[in-house]
């Protein structure tokens, strides 16, 4: 797979159009869409709910993938490895937010330019940190479901996409339940809407945002595990996913968690169809073209405020 090659595709895209191929493209698009939703969940909490310009989210996710690769080296199943990384990433997320809060949000200075530049710097540091630790060549993981595929009608679907899609759906379901059914979850959804009002409910907004940012980072660890399951990973892969993850979150609309799945599917299917019609070289422009369209026409996204 060439460096920075977009979606890892597994069948050559003939230029001719046929319903049968369209059908296959849609099926593959759905699986790809679940994966795109999975890699964007952490960002939909950090940026969608908390309004934190977290451009370092993909870099955190890639480091989750490397964590999975390290644990896989000790015989861990990749998904199990992703789960075991979550507590560690949770603490890192809490610490990172605390630092961001003290440096920017607390001083009420318009974090604007400096907040975004801060996370851009963090992304660079993580990316190069990974290169220094693990070198630039690509890393993969072994598992029963990686590399094998099952037949679905006359289509061969790689199992790793099914597993990835499944874990993604479970992750999204749990997070959505957590956010709507628990006290802290509801407070997380409320904090960006009216912080002083949340204090009146007896909740400390800073602690709530710190907790939420911890969750966003922990989720990014598991997404990282899915990333390395789906395809080989290298430190610079985060650059490919910055645009995609922000496209999904902006398309979903700020403040709407459930929109992330729908947005991921729309992105996955449209990219898959473009892949089929015009080939891989056009695929990366799909998510970004969609992003510009959404920003121009409906910046609050499909389900947002």
């Amino acid at each position: 797979m060439r460096r920075g090659d977009p979606a890892p595709h597994f069948f050559d895209a003939p230029m001719i159009f046929s319903f049968e191929l369209l059908y296959e493209a849609v099926i593959f698009g759905i699986l790809l869409g679940c994966f795109y939703a999975a890699v964007s969940i952490g960002l939909s909490v950090a940026f969608g709910l908390l309004d934190v310009p977290h451009v370092a989210h993909p870099a955190v996710m890639v480091s989750g993938a490397y964590g999975t690769w390290v644990l896989a080296g000790y015989g861990f199943d990749p998904i199990l490895a992703g789960l075991t990384l979550m507590p560690l990433f949770f603490l890192f997320g809490m610490a990172l937010y605390r630092f961001y809060y003290e440096a920017f949000e607390k001083r009420g200075s318009n974090a604007g330019v400096r907040g975004i530049a801060f996370f851009f710097g963090v992304a660079l540091i993580i990316e190069v940190g990974l290169i220094v630790l693990y070198g630039v060549d690509q890393r993969t993981v072994e598992a029963s479901y990686v590399g094998s595929s099952i037949d679905f009608g006359d289509m061969r679907i790689p199992q790793r996409f099914l597993v990835g899609g499944g874990v993604a759906l479970v992750l999204m379901a749990t997070l959505t339940l957590y956010l709507s059914k628990t006290f802290t979850g509801r407070a997380i959804k409320a904090v960006a809407q009216d912080e002083p009002a949340l204090r009146l409910m007896g909740a400390d907004p800073v602690r709530i945002k710190q907790w939420a940012f911890g969750i966003a980072t922990a989720v990014a660890a598991l997404s990282g595990a899915l990333l390395i399951i789906i395809g080989p990973v290298e430190p610079a892969l985060d650059r490919v996913y910055i645009g995609r993850t922000f496209s999904v979150v902006v398309l979903a609309g700020l403040g709407s968690m459930t929109g992330t799945l729908a947005a991921g599917l729309i992105l996955g299917i449209s990219e898959s169809i473009v892949l089929m019609l015009f080939g891989a070289s056009w695929a990366p422009a799909v998510s970004f073209g969609l992003l510009l369209l959404v920003l121009a026409v409906r910046p609050q996204g499909l389900f947002g405020r």
Binding site: V113, I125, V128, S281, F288, L292, P299
Partner: protein, 311 residues
């Protein structure tokens, strides 16, 4: 006058050096440093004065480079016209991006510029005439008169463009345009109610910034006599253009210049001796450090230090 005398002296010195010094390596490296001065100054017009972060420098830079390359390949256009055309095309890109997203909050503009880079790169990759993914070989014409080597000519040319860019930034800073942009950054609603056409001014800054980035990219194909998408739309241009003003200081036209000179010298030092990755790490650490500890950048620190002495 405090600005023009030193600038002319610098340009004269650069020309003299180009005529006297034999070894081309100095000019080869010097060209890149001056190019980053132009990119950082261009970035600061929108990022520093108006407060809108542009991650898409490679899109504007790359589009400028490819406009020049294609015009040269098609009509063997002279370098001067290539630069003007590149500035116009990248300025147009700035207009489109600006009108689309500058109504929204800063973070949305920043995200849109990320998208621009990939869209531009994808378009070029799929454009066979421009060499597609593999790239385009270009045969340099003979250098114009006083210079015996093309690289030395490009070095002096980029020096002139750097002075032009800094002069433009200096004019903006002191003029009604700069005041309007700063008013927008301080309080957009108050600026609008004080008669500032906020959207128009932001788009104007975005076009200017884009055009300058395009112009900085234009000589690139001649400089390398080869051009290919992956390196032309590289993230390092985004890092350099953003980090230099944030470290040097966004509030003063010298900020981006100091930042660019500092980062370029670090790059020369570190990349040659240790590894290019370490250079990016240092830039990342410096960026985080300055953004948190010294938001006004080096220029701000110097000003504070001078004020403390003068009191």
């Amino acid at each position: 006058m405090k600005f023009w005398i030193p600038s002319c002296l610098l340009l004269a010195a650069a020309t003299a050096a180009a005529l006297i010094v034999e070894n081309e390596y100095f000019f080869f490296a010097g060209y890149t440093v001056l190019m980053f001065v132009v990119l950082a100054t261009a970035w600061n017009i929108l990022g520093g004065y108006a407060g809108y972060v542009n991650f898409g420098t490679p899109a504007f830079f790359g589009l400028g480079a490819y406009t020049a390359a294609v015009l040269f390949k098609a009509f063997a256009l002279p370098l001067g016209l290539q630069i003007l055309a590149a500035a116009a095309v990248s300025g147009l890109l700035g207009l489109v991006a600006g009108v689309l997203t500058l109504r929204l909050r800063g973070i949305f503009f920043a995200i849109a510029t990320i998208a621009l880079v990939v869209i531009m790169e994808t378009l070029i990759i799929n454009w066979r005439y421009a060499g597609g993914a593999t790239g385009l070989q270009l045969l340099r014409p003979a250098p114009t008169l006083p210079f015996d080597s093309y690289i030395k000519m490009l070095f002096v040319l980029m020096g002139a463009m750097a002075i032009g860019a800094v002069a433009l930034a200096r004019w903006i800073e002191g003029s009604w345009v700069g005041r309007g942009l700063r008013a927008i950054r301080d309080s957009e609603e108050a600026a609008e109610c004080s008669g500032v056409p906020t959207l128009r001014l932001k788009v104007f800054a975005c076009v200017l910034s884009g055009a300058l980035m395009g112009a900085a990219g234009a000589p690139m194909p001649m400089y390398l006599s080869f051009i290919e998408p992956a390196s032309t739309f590289n993230l390092n241009y985004a890092i350099g253009a953003l980090a230099s003003p944030m470290i040097g200081g966004t509030g003063h036209f010298l900020g981006p210049v100091i930042g660019a000179l500092l980062l370029s010298s670090i790059q020369q030092l570190v990349t040659v001796t240790i590894s290019s990755e370490l250079n990016v790490l240092i830039v990342g650490v410096l960026l985080v450090l300055f953004v948190v500890v010294a938001p006004e950048g080096i220029v701000g620190l110097v000003r504070k230090w001078m004020r403390r002495i003068s009191r």
